[in-house]
């Protein structure tokens, strides 16, 4: 399995039946493809969809129906379509159970930075800030290190924050890590790696849960 496949195949297990879930642009939207076709979930897309589903068949693609990532989605039975004010009311009123979201940086306090790299990347914040600040449970999907091999899981984020203390869990290509009152706790390892080697690729201090699952 590739790093991406490891993240996605683990991430899909976070989605509980009957829940309402937003899948952020990037890795998270790809989680949808790992869901069984009959799975009981309602996917929320912030451009005004509850009940978005996998890409429509070519003959059924509707140019007037995309998700927030631009995909020509289909709709589940029981889907609803609404304006952007209602869509974000749903977010701010915490009617979403789970948001999976990407990260530039995430830290030991559960702070998230995923929208801006000053001087390099500033396309605007989109819906990320409200999703991060208001969803009941935020799970970050991220490679454990950046393309230069530098840790993305930090003691304290250095980039401008999307939201403070919002992240519940981090799923990287190496481990499943929970943000707790006593810092980051490794729940599962997704590769065959020693605790020491995992810590070496992580700036924040890790605690290893007794009996954490291994590959």
């Amino acid at each position: 399995m590739s790093a991406v496949e490891r993240i996605l195949s683990r991430a899909v297990k976070e989605i509980t039946p009957g829940s309402i879930v937003n899948l952020g642009i990037g890795l998270p939207t790809q989680v949808m493809h790992y869901l069984p076709d009959d799975f009981d979930v309602q996917i929320h897309s912030e451009n005004g969809i509850l009940g978005a589903w996998k890409q429509a068949a070519p003959a059924e693609m509707d140019p007037f129906l995309i998700d927030a990532a631009g995909a020509y989605v289909s709709l589940r039975e029981g889907a609803s379509l609404f304006d952007s004010a209602v869509s974000f009311a749903m977010i701010r009123r915490a009617r979403l159970d789970l948001t999976m979201i990407g990260a530039f940086e995430v830290d030991a306090q559960g702070n998230l930075a995923n929208w801006k790299i000053p001087g390099k990347f500033s396309p605007g914040i989109g819906g990320a800030m409200e999703l991060a600040q208001k969803t009941k449970r935020i799970v970050v999907l991220t490679t454990h290190t950046d393309k230069h091999g530098r840790p993305k899981i930090l003691k304290t984020c250095r980039l401008p924050l999307t939201a403070r203390a919002c992240v519940s869990r981090i799923i990287s290509d190496m481990a499943v890590i929970d943000v707790t009152d006593r810092g980051l706790v490794v729940r599962e390892k997704l590769v065959d790696i020693t605790n020491e080697d995992l810590q070496a690729q992580t700036e924040a201090e890790l605690t290893f849960a007794t009996g954490e699952a291994s590959v």
């Binding site: 897309s45 912030e46 451009n47 005004g48 969809i49 890409q55 070519p58 693609m61 509707d62 140019p63 007037f64 129906l65 995309i66 998700d67 927030a68 631009g70 995909a71 020509y72 379509l81 609404f82 304006d83 952007s84 004010a85 869509s87 974000f88 009311a89 977010i91 701010r92 500033s122 396309p123 605007g124 914040i125 989109g126 819906g127 990320a128 800030m129 409200e130 600040q133 208001k134 401008p160 924050l161 999307t162 939201a163 403070r164």
Partner: protein
């Protein structure tokens, strides 16, 4: 009272320097025909309000590329490198808001109110000290209403009175902008007589609409963007 207008007449009402809201999230809901006519007529120094800048060569991006835009108020322009580059070069002023806050600022204007109290981004870099209000013992961020001189809206269906019905994910900002702008111009490929809609199913009541432009057909602008199709 019939609100039908020609494309040319409807857009000619917009002067240079106007503040113009434009519906649409990505392609769906973008009023490409109204925008293309605005490009043709060439009004300048516009302030535009739209969720995004569309993609290069399409929709709102054409107005920017044509030098007609002074300022853009938006949420995310990540799919338009040209506009980002122009912003970084100082060729266009860009004001960003969180997406739901932009929606709510517009909706607040549309409801005839002047601002609202929120906690979104309250401890982030998007909030300045002077935006904060301590009220009854709690600190809020005050977000002011955002109105406009004009709104450009695409509706799937309309009637002569200006009653509108949207489709798919093309609803997005359109009903909010239709309420918030002083003068609302709608394009639709399907204009009919009053009575065609079940009254409960009208998305935007005609009271909010000033001009309805019937489109004979939809150009390729409105079609599938092949590079967004997953193979």
């Amino acid at each position: 009272m019939k609100k039908n207008r020609t494309l040319e007449d409807a857009i000619a009402a917009i002067p240079s320097g106007a503040v113009v809201m434009v519906g649409g999230f990505g392609n769906p809901g973008t009023p490409f025909s109204l925008i293309n006519e605005l490009v043709r007529q060439g009004q300048t120094e516009l302030t535009l309000i739209k969720n995004d800048a569309n993609e290069a060569g399409h929709g709102l991006s054409r107005l920017v590329e044509n030098g007609q835009v002074r300022k853009l108020i938006t949420t995310h322009i990540g799919l338009n490198k040209g506009v980002i580059d122009l912003m970084n070069l100082g060729g266009i002023e860009v004001e960003f808001h969180p997406q739901g806050i932009l929606a709510e600022k517009i909706r607040t204007a549309g409801s005839g109110s002047f601002g609202f109290l929120t906690d979104i981004g309250i401890d982030s870099e998007i909030t300045r000290q002077e935006d904060l209000l301590n009220w009854q013992g709690t600190t809020y961020k005050v977000e002011m209403a955002l109105s406009a001189d004009f709104a450009l809206i695409h509706a799937a269906q309309a009637d002569w009175l200006g009653n509108l019905v949207y489709q798919g994910s093309a609803i997005n900002f359109s009903p909010l902008m239709a309420m918030a702008a002083k003068h609302v111009i709608v394009e639709t490929p399907d204009l009919g007589a009053p009575g065609r809609f079940k009254p409960e199913q009208v998305h935007t009541p005609g009271a909010f609409v000033d001009s309805v432009v019937p489109l004979e057909s939809l150009t390729s602008d409105y079609g599938i963007l092949e590079h967004h199709v997953r193979r």
